[in-house]
């Protein structure tokens, strides 16, 4: 079987072939791997690769596959999945002209108004989530085109709180 995953903006193709006794052959970008895998559950298994033992834990959501290996968690996006909740302003997958929050919360203070000129790094709005206030800063210099929420409003991830028109000088 072939599987595609993307990580950090790059897409990886994994060709994998398993036999009935837990033996596997796999290819990632021309590099060949031969190993055995033993499942404890669907989510937890051990891989023996050149006698080296690795414990892996894997789970999937609608948009990605999470892997825990050697104390690190890596989230792979499935091909065709959207930004998957990483839509915060200035975030890795953020859209620069639409300011949103990565998690649900309450708008406590809108700092700017329509027509305001803002600098990169300037605070635009304060959103409270899980009892902490978080200042959302402008990812870019530009002009505030619209403010879609007011103080006290509840906001969901991905909803555009403020729309900016980035200036070319930035």
């Amino acid at each position: 079987m072939d599987f595609e995953y993307s990580y950090d903006g790059k897409t990886f193709l994994v060709k994998i072939d398993g036999d009935s006794s837990g033996g596997y052959k796999a290819v990632i970008a021309d590099k060949e791997y031969e190993f055995t895998a033993s499942n404890i559950s669907l989510n937890e298994f051990s891989i023996l690769l050149n006698r080296k033992n690795m414990k892996a834990y894997v789970a999937e959501s609608d948009d990605g596959v999470f892997v825990h290996i050697e104390g690190r968690v890596i989230k792979f996006k499935k091909p065709g999945a959207g930004n998957g909740g990483f839509g915060g302003a200035g975030g890795e997958f953020g859209v620069k002209d639409e300011i949103s929050t990565p998690m649900p919360g309450k708008v406590v203070k809108i700092i700017v108004s329509e027509g305001d000129r803002v600098e990169a790094g300037q605070s635009l709005v304060i959103v409270e989530s899980m009892k902490m206030e978080n200042e959302i800063k402008s990812p870019t210099a530009g002009e505030v085109v619209s403010v879609n929420f007011k103080n006290g409003d509840l906001v969901e991830p991905g909803q555009t709180i403020i729309k900016l028109n980035p200036s070319d000088a930035d």
């Binding site: 599987f3 994994v14 892996a56 968690v73 406590v108």
Partner: protein, 498 residues
């Protein structure tokens, strides 16, 4: 002894208290909000009762609803945990009026120590050294401004009514003060229902050292030595340990005596914590009394061998302390790491969502006080603490190694957590040397990112592919699509005995 206790809290601390109740033969009652029906604390209790909507003001902070639940279930006592109503003297007062035992200090002592300003006055009179600060709490920006100039910048802004770093900010100059006071007041209002703030001199490069106290209702009090809680982000502790690497026997004895003095002059009973800032020259300043069971109480339990929740319940039921100061000693070393649903890569922003899979670390000297499980949803309504991982060993070095190993084998998938960050703090050379100051994280871990090399990436890709391959081959067994295929469904035709 009580027959039934209601736990007015949720998450890991509610479960911690319920387990103590079970060990003592006491029935436990959980309270829960409408979105918490699936929460672990509800599953752990003997009885559970819904007290209102998701918003804390409607449920876990709703005094009327909680008192009603106590009456309906016939509980004789309430354990408030930490946070929520734990340090609300009005709640303690209401319990007293209704004939319910509040497991904590009485409302008078709670009111005194809960008010940072009033408690400063009382302790200052007794010659206990304090950090220079405002004489009174305030909700007035201009008053704060003139007080800040008197104290001298930088100043530390705190919520008058509570702890946990909520509303707390360092203000470096006059220009920053107005915004900081306003934001601090809003946070204080949301978290504690009281917007009052308070300013004090900010001491640079200090350690946070606190003493655990137990005091009965008969005038006996002991301290259970110190915890060092210098590793903080957003002014909130994330790693605590006992003993502190900064204390020798002499300083430990002096600070312990001061802590007991604070308890004595405040008329404080039950479990409490006296917090100090310790500077590099061994000067220590009294900060405040935390009038509750602390999040980090397990490290004390591990080194002292005393169960603090058992002790709280026994003291609240009227028992005299069953040991004295001379009976207590510290054995070995304990460290606690707080596991939060948050993203260390973006300023520790809380991260809500569903935990797709998790597995708790186990082993000798490993304790995990946990409030979540695989498949549960972490809500945006409450504090993002998931659990606390505690390790104990005879030496600090082994304790650190044990913690690092436990953190590496602790998968929590589906939401962001601070587990990888905590691991990297524990293995940091400065942490291992015991150079722990409250500015540890900005100084030693700026712009932290988890290191992922190509080899690890490839191994992760292999793991993902094995998983996806198995999912593809998975058969549906008895309608549960998440089950791994049972041998009974894959063996084919056979008969027993043949």
């Amino acid at each position: 002894m009580f027959k039934k206790i209601l736990i007015a809290n949720r998450g890991e601390i509610a479960i911690r208290v319920m387990k103590a109740c079970r060990e003592m033969g006491i029935e436990s009652v959980a309270v829960y909000s409408t979105i918490d029906r699936d929460a672990l604390h509800v599953r752990t209790a003997d009885e559970a009762i819904c007290i209102g909507e998701a918003s804390p003001n409607e449920s876990y902070l709703n005094i009327d609803a909680i008192i009603k639940a106590v009456k309906e279930t016939g509980a004789e006592a309430v354990h408030p945990g930490y946070g929520f109503l734990a340090e609300n003297y009005l709640f303690a007062q209401r319990c007293e009026k209704e004939g319910i035992v509040f497991i904590g200090p009485d409302s008078k002592a709670l009111k005194l120590v809960g008010d940072k300003v009033a408690s400063r006055e009382v302790t200052e009179k007794e010659g206990i050294t304090l950090i220079p600060g405002m004489k009174d709490k305030s909700t007035d920006v201009n008053e704060c401004l003139s007080e800040a100039e008197k104290i001298g910048f930088p100043v530390l802004l705190k919520a008058s009514a509570g702890g946990g770093g909520k509303g707390m900010r360092v203000v470096n100059s006059k220009g920053e003060l107005k915004d900081a006071v306003e934001a601090g007041m809003r946070e204080a209002q949301t978290a504690f229902g009281d917007p009052s703030v308070y300013l004090e001199k900010y001491i640079e490069k200090p350690r946070h050292v606190e003493f655990q106290i137990l005091a009965d209702n008969h005038g006996n009090a002991v301290h259970l030595f110190e915890r060092e809680c210098s590793i903080q982000r957003r002014h909130q502790k994330i790693i605590e340990e006992s003993p502190s690497t900064a204390l020798d026997d002499d300083l430990r004895r002096k600070m312990g005596e001061t802590a007991l003095k604070v308890v004595e002059v405040s008329g404080y009973t039950n479990a409490g914590t006296v917090e100090f800032l310790l500077d590099e020259n061994g000067n220590y300043y009294f900060l405040e009394v935390n009038a509750r069971l602390q999040v980090e109480h397990p490290v004390t339990e591990m080194v002292c061998g005393i169960d603090l929740v058992h002790a709280q319940i026994r003291i609240a039921s009227g028992e005299k302390l069953w040991f004295s100061q001379g009976d207590l000693s510290q054995r070995g070393h304990a460290i606690e790491c707080r596991v939060y649903a948050e993203d260390p890569e973006s300023n520790f922003l809380p991260s809500a969502g569903k935990i797709l899979y998790m597995k708790e670390p186990t082993g000798p000297g490993i304790r995990h006080d946990c409030g979540v499980y695989s498949g549960c949803v972490v809500s945006v309504y409450y504090d993002p603490i998931l659990s606390k991982l505690i390790t104990w060993a005879l030496t600090r070095e082994i304790c650190c190694r044990r913690m690092a190993a436990a953190l590496s084998d602790f998968p929590v998938l589906g939401i962001k957590t601070d587990i990888e960050f905590l691991h990297d703090v524990i293995v940091h050379p400065e942490f291992l040397k015991g150079n722990t100051f409250t500015n540890f994280i900005p100084v030693n871990m700026p712009d932290w990112k988890p290191v992922v090399d190509d080899e690890m990436l490839n191994r992760s890709l292999l793991s993902a592919a094995i998983y996806s391959d198995n999912v593809g081959k998975r058969t549906v067994v008895s309608g549960k699509s998440e089950e791994f295929p049972s041998p009974w469904s894959t063996l084919g035709d056979w008969e027993i005995g043949k």
